[in-house]
C-alpha cells in the first residue's frame, strides 16, 4: 500500500559527517558489491569496461567547492543515498503499491515483483536516490541493507549497512533517529545535523553534519618560509662570469 504510515516505531537512518568524509568512494563500492550479490535484482552495468560505462548505484559521492566570503575555498565530499524520508513523495506516487515505507523501522523499500518500472517515484524524489536498473527494468534504491541489519547469520559488528561498515574515516553512522537517546540522535544534536532541501517538505530521516569551521590559516602558514629565502641575491664568481658570457652570445 502506497499510503504512508502515520507513525513508524523506529526511524532507522544514516548520519553522514561532511567534516570527516574524505571522498574515497569506498561506501559506493561496498554498496554496489553488497546490493549486487544479495537482496533483489543485481545492480547492473552497461559497457562496464568499454568507452561509455553506465551503471546503477544506490549511493554516489559528489564533491563541492565552498568559497567563504574570506579565506581559502574548502572542498566538501558529499555522499548521497536514499534519506528514507518521513513524508516520502516517492511512495505515494507509486501506482502499483511496489514502493512502501515500513511501519516497524521506517525503511523505504521497493517490492520488485510489483514494480512496473514507470519511473514516477524517481521523478518524485528530489535527491536522485532512485535509479531504474536498465537490465532488470525495476526501480532500485537504498534498502539501508535490510538484509544485513537484522541478519543473525552475520557477526554482530557486521549488522549495519555496508557503507557504514566499510567507511575508513568513520564518516557514516547508523541508528534510530526517532530515539533522542540514540548515539546518532545525540550526534545530530551536538553537531547541528541538517536536512537536505527542507523546502521540499520531505522530512528526511538521514541527517548531514556540516563541516566544522576550519582552523585559522594564513599568518602561520609560512612559519618556515624565512628559512627558504634565497641566500644569494647577486651572482658572484664563476657563475656570474658564465651568466654574463652567455648573455653576450
Amino acid at each position: 500500500m502506497t499510503q504512508l504510515p502515520e507513525h513508524t516505531e523506529k526511524s532507522l537512518g544514516l548520519v553522514i559527517d561532511l567534516d570527516t568524509c574524505v571522498g574515497c568512494h569506498a561506501c559506493v563500492v561496498s554498496c554496489k558489491g553488497w546490493n549486487t550479490e544479495n537482496y533483489g535484482a543485481p545492480l547492473s552495468d552497461q559497457d562496464p569496461y568499454g568507452s561509455d560505462p553506465v551503471g546503477t548505484f544506490l549511493n554516489r559521492v559528489h564533491s563541492y567547492e565552498v568559497q567563504p566570503a574570506s579565506g581559502p575555498a574548502q572542498l566538501v565530499h558529499f555522499p548521497k543515498s536514499c534519506l528514507h524520508c518521513e513524508d516520502a513523495p516517492c511512495v505515494t506516487v507509486c501506482p502499483t503499491g511496489a514502493s512502501y515505507k515500513r511501519t516497524e523501522d521506517g525503511i523505504v523499500l521497493v517490492n520488485e515483483s510489483d514494480c512496473i518500472g514507470c519511473g514516477l517515484c524517481a521523478w518524485a524524489c528530489p535527491y536522485g536516490a532512485r535509479e531504474m536498473d536498465a537490465v532488470a527494468g525495476v526501480m532500485k534504491k537504498c534498502t539501508l541493507c535490510v538484509d544485513r541489519i537484522y541478519n543473525t547469520n552475520l557477526p554482530e559488528e557486521d549488522r549495519e549497512p555496508a557503507c557504514v561498515r566499510t567507511c575508513p574515516a568513520g564518516a557514516r553512522h547508523f541508528g534510530d533517529l526517532s530515539d533522542p537517546g540514540s548515539a546518532v540522535s545525540q550526534l545530530v544534536a551536538e553537531r547541528g545535523g541538517m536536512d537536505l532541501m527542507p523546502e521540499q517538505g520531505t522530512k528526511p530521516v538521514n541527517k548531514y553534519l556540516p563541516p566544522r569551521p576550519k582552523d585559522k590559516i594564513g599568518e602561520d602558514i609560512d612559519v618556515l618560509a624565512p628559512l627558504l629565502e634565497p641566500v644569494a641575491e647577486e651572482q658572484r664568481g664563476f657563475f656570474s662570469w658564465l651568466d654574463k658570457a652567455l648573455e653576450k652570445l
Partner: protein, 289 residues
C-alpha cells in the same frame, strides 16, 4: 526532463481523444449511425492508442494491471482507473448511439465527466511533483484541460466553441510559459539548500561519476532548450493560430482537416517543450538545470 516519445504521444493523443469523447458524451455533435461510428472510432483510436503508447516506456508492461490498485494515493493509478472507466461508459453510450440511434443522456454525461477527469488526472501526475517546479503549478492542469477540451471541440466540429476554446488554450499556454520560466527560481531550491552548505558560495566541483547515468539522462535533459523560443512560436502557431484562422474561414472539409492536423502537430511540439524545458531539482546537485 527527458522528453520520452512514448509519453509525448500518450499525452498528445489521449488528451485529444478524451476531449472528443467528452463532447460526444454531451451529444455534440448529435450524430447517429455510421457518422457516429466514425466519430467514436477516431476518439477511441486516439485515447486507446495514447494509452498503449504510455506502456512502451515501462520496464515491466506485463504488470501494468497492478497500476489500478493504488488510486487512494497515486495520480498515475487514478488516471488509469478514470481512463478505463471513461472508455467503458463511452463504449456503452457509443453502442446506443451507433447501433440503436438512441442517446442515453445521463450515461453520456457521466462518460463526458469521466473523460474530462481522466485528462485532469494525467495533468496531476505532473502538477503534483514538487521536484519539478515548472510543472508544480495550477496552470499545468489548466493547460492539459484547455488543450483537451479545445482540441476535442475542434475534432467534434463545434466551430464557434472551438474557435473560442483554442484561443483560450493559446492564452493558457503563453501564461504557463511566463509563470513557468520563473518557477525554478521561485521554488527556493538552490545548490545551497540541496547541500545544506551555507558558509560560502557552493559550486559543483566534481560529479560522482565520470560518465553519464540514469539520473542525468532522465532529469537533466538540455538538448534543444536553446531552440525553445523558436519552438514555442512554431508550436503556438500550429496548435492555436492556424486552426483558429481555418475555423474563421468559410467551412470546408479540407480546411477542417488542415486545422486538426495543424493542432495535433502543434500540441506535440509544445508537449515536447513541456518535458524538455522542465527542470528537476536533482540537477542542482550536478550543477546543471
Amino acid at each position: 526532463m527527458h522528453p520520452a516519445p512514448s509519453v509525448i504521444i500518450f499525452t498528445t493523443l489521449s488528451g485529444l481523444g478524451f476531449g472528443l469523447l467528452a463532447w460526444l458524451g454531451l451529444g455534440l455533435p448529435a450524430v447517429t449511425g455510421i457518422v457516429a461510428f466514425i466519430f467514436f472510432a477516431i476518439a477511441f483510436g486516439l485515447a486507446v492508442g495514447g494509452l498503449m503508447a504510455s506502456t512502451f516506456h515501462l520496464g515491466h508492461p506485463e504488470r501494468a494491471l497492478k497500476a489500478f490498485t493504488q488510486w487512494r494515493s497515486s495520480w498515475l493509478s487514478r488516471e488509469g482507473v478514470l481512463a478505463v472507466a471513461a472508455l467503458l461508459v463511452m463504449a456503452v453510450y457509443g453502442f446506443g448511439v451507433v447501433f440503436l440511434s438512441v442517446q442515453w443522456t445521463l450515461l453520456g454525461w457521466i462518460g463526458s465527466l469521466l473523460s474530462a477527469l481522466a485528462v485532469f488526472a494525467t495533468s496531476m501526475i505532473y502538477a503534483q511533483l514538487k521536484t519539478v517546479p515548472r510543472w508544480n503549478l495550477p496552470l499545468t492542469p489548466a493547460l492539459f484541460m484547455s488543450f483537451a477540451i479545445g482540441g476535442g471541440a475542434l475534432m467534434a466540429g463545434q466551430i464557434k466553441v472551438a474557435t473560442v476554446l483554442l484561443i483560450v488554450a493559446g492564452i493558457v499556454q503563453v501564461a504557463y510559459w511566463i509563470v513557468g520560466d520563473r518557477a525554478l527560481l521561485g521554488s527556493g531550491s538552490t545548490l545551497s539548500t540541496a547541500t545544506g552548505l551555507r558558509f560560502g558560495a557552493v559550486r559543483a566541483f566534481e560529479p560522482p561519476h565520470t560518465g553519464t547515468n540514469y539520473l542525468l539522462k532522465e532529469f537533466a535533459y538540455v538538448v534543444g532548450r536553446r531552440h525553445s523560443m523558436k519552438l514555442r512560436v512554431i508550436g503556438l502557431a500550429l496548435m492555436a493560430v492556424v486552426p483558429v484562422l481555418c475555423l474563421l474561414l468559410p467551412f470546408s472539409h479540407v480546411l477542417a482537416a488542415v486545422a486538426v492536423l495543424s493542432h495535433l502537430m502543434g500540441v506535440a511540439v509544445v508537449r515536447w517543450l513541456f518535458f524538455a524545458e522542465a527542470e528537476h531539482v536533482l540537477g542542482l546537485y550536478y550543477g546543471v538545470r
